[in-house]
Amino acid sequence: MRNIWIICRRELNSYFASPIAWLLLTMYSLIFGYFFWNLVGYFINNAMEMQMMGQNAPVNINEQIIRPLLANNAFLEILFIPLITMRLFAEEKRNGTIELLATSPVRDSEIILGKWLAALLLYCWLLLYTGLNFAFLFRYGHPDIKTMGVAYLGLVLQGAALLAVGTFLSTLTRNQIIAGVTTFAACLLLWVFSWVSSYNSATWATVLSYLSVLSHSESFGRGVLSLKDNVYYLSIIFLGLFLTTRSLESLRWRS
């Protein structure tokens, strides 16, 4: 446990020491801020038009702002997750610092968990900034905080799962760009697997659709906390980290 924290802390420090963390944060806030501004503008415009026409249509901040916003956000993460994970092992392999970790009295699993945890914390840090935007909604409206909480939990789980995949892919190469591109491709494919189910109802299509992040992120966005989706995310996390340990182990036997 102590070792995991030591490695995690160093990893986090290095995210913030090199400008990666700050850069990601800036870009993320910028894009998210634009999404937010757009949706709020649209919402207000709609509400005003309704009023002018004398209608009293139900306006719902949760349904009309928060949910689409977080759905957009879920996709936005696919772009950012590779940027977070690509350096985790690839950089260590290139710089030779992997030799320090691998010859220190720590277990491979501790190295992996430490690194994954650092990536997850940075990711949560990005999510935290999206929360700043929502503070305005709470100031001027009454969004349902429980629904939002579940949506955020979904985002954290989704991030944790994709980060685990990215961590694994980062062990396969010493080139950060390769790690990043393969992670991006993997995340995107995991995202769109569900498309097949829209026109095909064969068993394989159903399975593929189950494997898709998209079919699990939606219910979280609606504020539904279901066992099925939690199990899905947890199994992706487990699988990703398990493959990472195997990959590190094979590195030892092969190299």
Partner: protein, 346 residues
């Protein structure tokens, strides 16, 4: 302290290390010598539990590398060929991180960090980014991280590679000064380094053990007696090199004379004495009495390079016999072909 038995590492097509066995006792500095690609790094990586051996066993500080890798790593400090530095960290921050990784904490950690900063003379650099340090300083930080947990065994992979001559000297000094507290294995392909720093050598070539012995023994084994290099000159015209050659051979105790170089005003000879004979005084006297100038007289220690070549490569050089008989007036044997012996290695 270190016991290696039939250690073997096979890759898909090649055998990098082939049934190597040796032992290193506590407090020794051992040079691990071999040309590039001989299997030095592979052996070291097996000892540090970076990867497991294909077959054979090795134990460090009493712990087996296969069964107790975590314990082995706790007792080893390792400096890989390129120091494993996180370039975006500050020196002191990095040393703290490595210290924690090796199990230090609290006041203990701070004490050891201060100690290695001082020991490796990097105190001035403690708040600098590692990426901004020169190669020599990086090497020192690499050494500092290797000794931070005061390990019983230090494994250093080519600790002086890529350094300039001044840095090389400083690094060697540092390593020598660490010898008392630690058992050290250092790998190198630079021979003088072994002569200067190590007590024992393990020579490997193409994955196989070629020799293991003390430096002094190896030198003695390869050559039985004193050998000196002479440069003789003449200021009064042409130097009679052949005459001088004969004259030197007639000196009591000289077993062999080889003409190394010849120029109009002088010549360089290598004179080998029979075992147990001291001939330097006689040589000087004879030369001066003959009216020549003695420009240089220095002992030609058999360099490890020659031993190394004998053990690893050219078989021709192995059989240069050392004359045992000391009959002074006996007809000298013809000078045998000499293996080239370059003196300087970068």
């Amino acid at each position: 302290m270190i016991t290696v038995q039939d250690l073997t590492k096979r890759y898909a097509r090649t055998t990098a290390v082939d049934h190597i066995s040796f032992t290193v006792s506590k407090g020794q500095i051992v040079g691990f010598l071999g040309p590039n690609g001989a299997g030095k790094t592979t052996t070291m990586r097996m000892l540090t539990c970076f990867f497991p051996p294909t077959s054979g066993t090795a134990s460090v500080a009493g712990y087996d590398v296969l069964n107790d890798p975590l314990e082995v790593r706790r007792h080893i400090g390792y400096l890989p060929e390129t120091p494993p530095l996180y370039l975006e960290m500050e020196t002191i921050e990095y040393l703290r991180f490595v210290g924690r990784l090796k199990g230090l904490a609290g006041a203990d950690l701070e004490k050891r960090v201060a100690f290695v900063l001082d020991r490796c003379a990097i105190g001035d650099m403690q708040n600098k980014l590692l990426g901004k340090l020169s190669k020599g300083y990086r090497q020192r930080v690499g050494l500092a991280q290797a000794i931070i947990h005061n390990p019983d065994v230090l494994i250093l992979d080519e600790p002086t590679s890529g350094l300039d001559p001044k840095q090389i000297n400083e690094t060697r000094e540092l390593i020598r000064s660490l010898a008392g507290d630690h058992t050290i294995i250092l790998s190198t392909h630079i021979l003088p380094e072994v002569e200067q720093t190590c007590e024992q050598v393990i020579i490997i070539n193409k994955g196989k053990l070629a020799a293991t012995d003390s430096v002094a023994n190896l030198q003695a084994r390869a050559r039985g007696a004193e050998s000196v290099i002479l440069e003789i000159g003449s200021r009064t015209g042409d130097f009679p090199a052949s005459a001088a050659h004969e004259r030197l051979e007639q000196i009591a105790g000289v077993s062999r004379v080889v003409r190394r170089e010849e120029f109009t005003q002088g010549a360089v000879f290598e004179v080998e004495a029979s075992r147990g004979q001291l001939v330097r005084g006689d040589l000087a006297r004879v030369i001066v009495n003959a009216g020549w100038d003695l420009n240089e007289l220095r002992p030609a220690a058999m360099s490890l390079e020659e031993i190394f070549l004998q053990l690893t490569g050219s078989p021709a050089a192995v059989d240069t016999p050392v004359a045992e008989s000391t009959a002074p007036e006996s007809t000298p044997p013809p000078p045998p072909p000499e293996a080239p012996a370059p003196e300087a290695h970068a």
